[in-house]
Symmetry: C2
Subunit: 329 residues, 2 copies
């Protein structure tokens, strides 16, 4: 029987665990609430139980290792989460130590955006490409880059922050010290702001859907109203499409990836932003053949984290035991 | 005796040729005008003569291969220059074929920005770093990226175009289809425009140095006047520093390099732009430790092209025969 690795997707709310073969077959998976407030001891015990369970359901297959993708920032070297917001009380606690000890196998910790992108590069929308950029748009904008089947890392292991590219010097101030960062223009909260600005000028269906309360107007109202053809909402959707394109132009100018994979809550409604996105993005085709760049939806959904974490430990164990991600040339 | 490789730096005006050992010692070099208008036959004959000459002056050392860095864009695969502006008449002529035939050794063709960066990574300002970004500011802005001692290439061998990152939606239109691209804000011609705008509002030393003719005002007048402490010129220099920082913030957000090496005519006066550059760039330190990123001047001057081209052929011949670029961890 083929051996397995375990992929763990550790979020602020739930933890998902999956058993994956080296060829990318997900044999079993399960999830449980992480109850971050009950502390890491509780959470780690639950994780170990889940791993035991999932592993048991795959028979007697040998376990090669465990990969963990966690809401960041993280300290890979020490195997620790450094985010006091999404996993309070977990700071300065090694996630890997108990796993290594209990299961006697190697384990790695990676940023969740990185493992999701790695999953897509292995088994999803970015299968077979040498350069896969990933853009996640939700509460913020996160970026990741998979180069030749490996997570691209910045110096000192620092993670890229594509969401904080400066795009408009007259845009809103950002907590990062900049102004008009990508995520201040096109992430969920920014879409809410654009909707409030538009509705203050021109009240319409969006405002109605928000119960007439301008302050309650949020991104999902834009989506709902635009789906019904509301002209004010469609104008906001065009603005979002334009802002998404601006950031994408810059990302492409530096990375020149074959494919950009989109994910996150906002991107579930990408079809609404897409006409203006395409108009603006593909206009920049003089310097580089952007029309050849494939802009694709993520395909692995909630399994991206598990599969990418599994791939991360496979990459770490060494190429000898693992089939490399097949590359198109 | 150590073997040698030949590095060739092919520009629109001159060609430089050097003999370099695998450990990076430049044993001999020479240059000659390329006289692009006389056609590629003339130029290629001159290049072969120069190589013979330089090679002869290093004794009987075996020749391992030839690297060429050329003003781009280029077609690496076919060994051809695709730039009708800087090397007219050279289009659809293989540069590598005659070299391979005459010398019976392997030869590679690379973009000049890439080889200059590779040279700096090997023997100059970026020695020993895993991730070196290079920014050349002159008539335009070019970027290159050396990752683990190798030139980073986009999909389909397309070269990155960091100079066309969008930074200001209200900025001047660019030939690339965008508006407010980095090079439209901070390259030489943009500095001239900023100077004309400033002098139209507030005539001062810059305008005087340009003979009172607003239309003749160019980047070098800004530098000359700022060196004399002219307040209008210093304000323009601050603007340039700010624009340089904006692009750098975005480049760093995606690539997170240890070091960015600066070159090109405009960057020779970087000290004038540096105070405002530092103020703006290092303000963005919340999301990533930008204060740890080394912003350095290029160190190899006019030898960067030769040395980088030499390294390119060494990389191509294969790591077995070549000492890898030593990496700091």
């Amino acid at each position: 029987m083929d051996p397995i690795v375990i992929g763990i997707d550790l979020g602020g709310t739930n933890v998902r665990v999956g058993a994956v073969t080296p060829s990318g077959e997900l044999l079993a998976s399960d999830k449980a609430p992480i109850k971050a407030r009950r502390g890491p001891q509780y959470g780690l015990t639950r994780i170990i139980e889940l791993v035991e369970q999932v592993r048991a359901s795959t028979g007697e297959r040998p376990l090669l290792g465990i990969g963990v993708g966690s809401t960041g920032p993280i300290d890979r070297e020490r195997g620790m989460v450094k985010n006091p917001y999404t996993l309070p009380t977990w700071e300065n606690v090694s996630i890997l130590e108990p796993l290594r000890e209990h299961f006697g196998v190697p384990a790695v910790l990676e940023n969740d955006a990185d493992v999701a992108a790695l999953g897509e590069a292995w088994l999803g929308a970015g299968r077979g490409v040498d350069r896969l950029a990933a853009v996640t748009v939700g509460t913020g904008i996160g970026t990741a880059f998979i180069y030749r089947g490996q997570i691209y890392r910045g110096f000192g292991d620092h993670h890229g922050e594509g969401g904080h590219m400066l795009l408009d010097p007259n845009g809103p101030e950002c907590y990062c010290g900049g102004r008009g960062c990508w995520e201040m223009l096109a992430a969920g909260p920014a879409i809410g702001r654009l909707a409030r600005e538009a509705s203050a000028r021109e009240p319409g269906l969006m405002l109605e859907l928000a119960g007439g309360d301008l302050q309650k107007l949020a991104a999902h109202h834009v989506v709902a109203a635009a789906r019904q053809g509301d002209p004010v909402a469609l104008k906001v959707a065009d603005q979002v499409g334009m802002y998404l394109a601006w950031g994408m132009v810059n990302l492409v100018a530096l990375l020149m990836p074959e494919c950009v994979v989109l994910s996150g809550g906002v991107m579930e409604s990408f079809d609404l932003f897409e006409p203006e996105f395409r108009r603006v993005f593909y206009r920049h085709n003089v310097m580089s053949p952007v029309e050849q760049i494939h802009i694709a939806h993520a395909q692995l959904g909630s399994q991206a984290g598990i599969l990418g974490a599994a791939r991360a430990i496979l990459n770490s164990i060494g190429e000898n035991n693992v089939e490399p991600i097949p590359l198109r040339r």
